[in-house]
């Protein structure tokens, strides 16, 4: 039996929206939150909301949010009794988790051993197979012969330490393989410091359905429904929802049983996500387990009426899981990820200053964001500005609310995917719930209409008001890429 170790002061070892999210949970529980920040984040929202904040170092993540030593020092110096890593950065770093626990500080997350067991794709697949969880055929032997016999084409190359679509390529013919392996290896080395790759069968048009699991420190593991995350672009999730429009109560029971078996196989504690590929016939295969809070956790919270971060904190303090947890969702929820990226130009990430930022709200709408007007969106971190979440009594009510909320969101100064998200949400397949992981690569979203005269007139008035004043921060470049379509560079 685990003893109860209350959390009074928590280090939030992250930035942006997830740091804000955790800070808010602390307040609701009466826990004092301490933030960390890099030089680029001095005035950031997560710093403003914290009781205390510690400067880690320069902007690059390696010198700040990824520097395990500095983060642990910050926790010690500020007298924190627990650390929440959020997602990304140090969240799946088993050595960091172990160092935190060895310092006598509570780690709000799974045991280091579970992170390790699931962190490397190859051993984790073997472990899952042994636990009776269905697994996609794959290989870590990258020789052409091995691939042909055990995997076959199409296949997907993945970074063994990877996640989030980084270091990942689909290969349809043997000839494309050498380039794909080289490129993945470079990206994997840059992103994770580990170029080890593995390969698995690529399933055509599957759905990405994942199960939220939770384990307490007394050995109980439960599943809390599924999320459908099939709307992806280059393996990055774009829009998620819960429940999945195709998961029946019977299928939910089977998915939940497999997810709980996976989590039990690694003695899981805290929040985790077991990802599956779901085929049209209702069969599913284990994809990977993310041993941390997931970006898209709010759709589960809104559909099931739970606060998963608060639950993580309670469990980390030694409390048991509640006896009663909802088995079926009480509402439908959608989430859209608002990125600083140019949907009209190959989704290139955008940087610059957010000159105006206005979040939507109202019935059923929640926004998890970490930015404010005036913030600089820099090259150093993920270009996600916010998650807009909508809850409704039905899928259609939630979908319409989300589309409306995205239309209310004002983001000036940076190109964002707001308009793209809205057009995707309003597209026929999404309205009908006919999703698969390749849908976005096929979907012809309606073109952006040319602005009406009044838009140009409004812009003209702003230029006229500025008079002869020379541009302070921008330069206009002629089109160097007539084909590529880049038009404005700032």
């Amino acid at each position: 039996m685990t003893s109860f170790r209350p959390i009074r002061r928590l280090l939030v070892a992250n930035r942006g929206e997830i740091a804000v999210r955790i800070l808010r949970a602390c307040r609701a529980l009466g826990i004092e939150p301490v933030a960390v920040f890099s030089e680029a984040d001095r005035g950031a929202r997560h710093v403003r909301l914290a009781s205390e904040a510690v400067l880690l170092g320069p902007a690059p993540a390696a010198s700040s949010y990824l520097d395990a030593g500095k983060v642990l020092d910050a926790a010690r110096k500020t007298g924190c009794d627990a650390v929440h890593p959020g997602y990304g950065f140090l969240s799946e770093n088993a050595a960091f988790a172990r160092a935190v626990e060895e310092s006598g500080i509570t780690w709000v997350g799974p045991p280091a051993s579970a992170i390790e067991a699931m962190g490397l794709k190859i051993p984790s697949r073997e472990r899952m197979r042994a636990a009776g969880v269905p697994v996609v055929p794959g290989s870590h032997d990258l020789s052409p012969a091995a691939l042909a016999s055990t995997v076959g084409f199409p296949l997907v190359v993945k970074a063994s330490s990877g996640g989030g679509g980084k270091g990942m390529r689909v290969v349809r013919q043997a000839g494309e393989l050498p380039d794909a392996l080289a490129s993945c290896r470079r990206e994997a080395e840059a992103a994770f410091g580990d170029g080890t790759l593995y390969v698995e069968r690529y399933l055509e048009r599957p759905r990405h359905v994942e199960v939220q699991v939770f384990g307490d420190r007394r050995g109980r593991v439960v599943a809390i429904g599924e999320r459908e995350c099939s709307l992806q672009r280059r393996h990055q999730k774009v829009i998620e929802e819960s429940p999945s429009p195709v998961v029946t109560p019977e299928l939910r029971r089977r998915l939940s049983a497999a997810a709980v078996a996976a989590a039990r196989a690694v003695s899981y504690e805290s929040a985790g996500t077991v990802e599956f590929l779901l085929a049209e016939d209702g069969t599913f295969h284990f994809l990977e387990m993310n041993t941390r809070l997931q970006v898209e956790h709010p759709v589960t919270e809104e559909a099931f009426g739970l606060d998963l971060v608060a639950l993580q904190l309670r469990i980390a303090a030694g409390e048991p899981l509640p006896d009663q947890l909802p088995e079926a969702p009480g509402a439908h929820a959608f989430e859209a990820r608002v990125y600083a990226e140019d949907a009209e130009n190959d989704f290139l990430p955008q940087t610059g200053r957010l000159l105006a930022w206005e979040e939507p709200s109202g019935p059923g709408i929640r926004v998890d964001s970490g930015v404010s007007a005036g913030d600089e969106v820099s090259v150093h971190y993920d270009p996600m500005l916010a998650k807009v979440i909508a809850r409704g009594a039905t899928r259609e009510e939630a979908r319409r609310r989300l589309a409306g909320a995205l239309g209310e969101t004002v983001a000036l100064g940076l190109t964002t995917n707001l308009s793209y998200l809205r057009r995707v949400l309003d597209s026929e397949p999404v309205v009908r719930g006919e999703l698969d992981t390749a849908l976005l690569s096929r979907l012809a979203v309606p073109p952006v209409p040319a602005p009406a005269g009044e838009i140009f007139e409004a812009a003209g008035r702003e230029f006229a008001a500025a008079g002869a004043e020379r541009s302070p921060r921008s330069v206009s470049f002629p089109d160097p890429f007539e084909a590529g379509g880049f038009r404005t560079f700032r």
């Binding site: 980084k166 490129s183 470079r186 990206e187 840059a190 992103a191 190959d346 290139l348 990430p349 955008q350 940087t351 610059g352 000159l355 105006a356 090259v379 971190y381 270009p383 995205l406 239309g407 209310e408 004002v410 983001a411 000036l412 100064g413 190109t415 964002t416 308009s419 809205r422 952006v448 209409p449 040319a450 602005p451 005269g453 009044e454 838009i455 140009f456 007139e457 409004a458 812009a459 003209g460 702003e462 230029f463 006229a464 500025a466 541009s471 302070p472 921060r473 921008s474 206009s476 470049f477 002629p478 160097p480 890429f481 007539e482 084909a483 590529g484 038009r487 404005t488 560079f489 700032r490």
Partner: protein
């Protein structure tokens, strides 16, 4: 003045009726913010990026014809061509890494790589010249 929508490329000639100071109140139901030579306009859920276009661009920057500039800030991860190479339109010239993703920078047209202005590992800002293709 001549204005251009950065997304659709639509051009618009604004008349003289626009002079005078812009009112501090927002006109109608628009939100507009100027940032140098770009004005951002929000109107009924859509965001527009309107650029002011110089009337005679070619004369102002004669070398621009040949310059290839960085579309975003980042680090030059790999150079895939060298000076003197002949490239086809669409050939990947180099890989730029930003936000941990690789982005290929492709040749806008057929030509010869006259100069490479960056090295592998260079950090570049948006708008920095990367190469000249003649």
């Amino acid at each position: 003045m001549r204005l251009r929508d950065a997304v659709t490329g639509t051009l618009f000639e604004a008349g003289d009726g626009l002079g005078g100071p812009s009112s501090s109140k927002r006109p109608g139901d628009l939100r507009a913010v100027r940032d140098g030579s770009v004005v951002w306009v929000f109107h009924r859920g859509e965001t527009y990026r309107i650029e002011r276009v110089a009337l005679r661009r070619a004369e102002e920057s004669p070398e621009a014809e040949h310059a290839l500039v960085a579309p975003m800030p980042g680090k030059v991860r790999a150079l895939l061509v060298k000076e003197g190479d002949t490239v086809a339109r669409g050939t990947t010239l180099l890989l730029l890494e930003a936000m941990k993703m690789e982005h290929p920078v492709r040749a806008p047209r057929e030509g010869v790589v006259q100069r490479l202005l960056v090295a592998e590992g260079s950090m570049v800002s948006a708008g920095d010249r990367l190469a000249e293709i003649g």
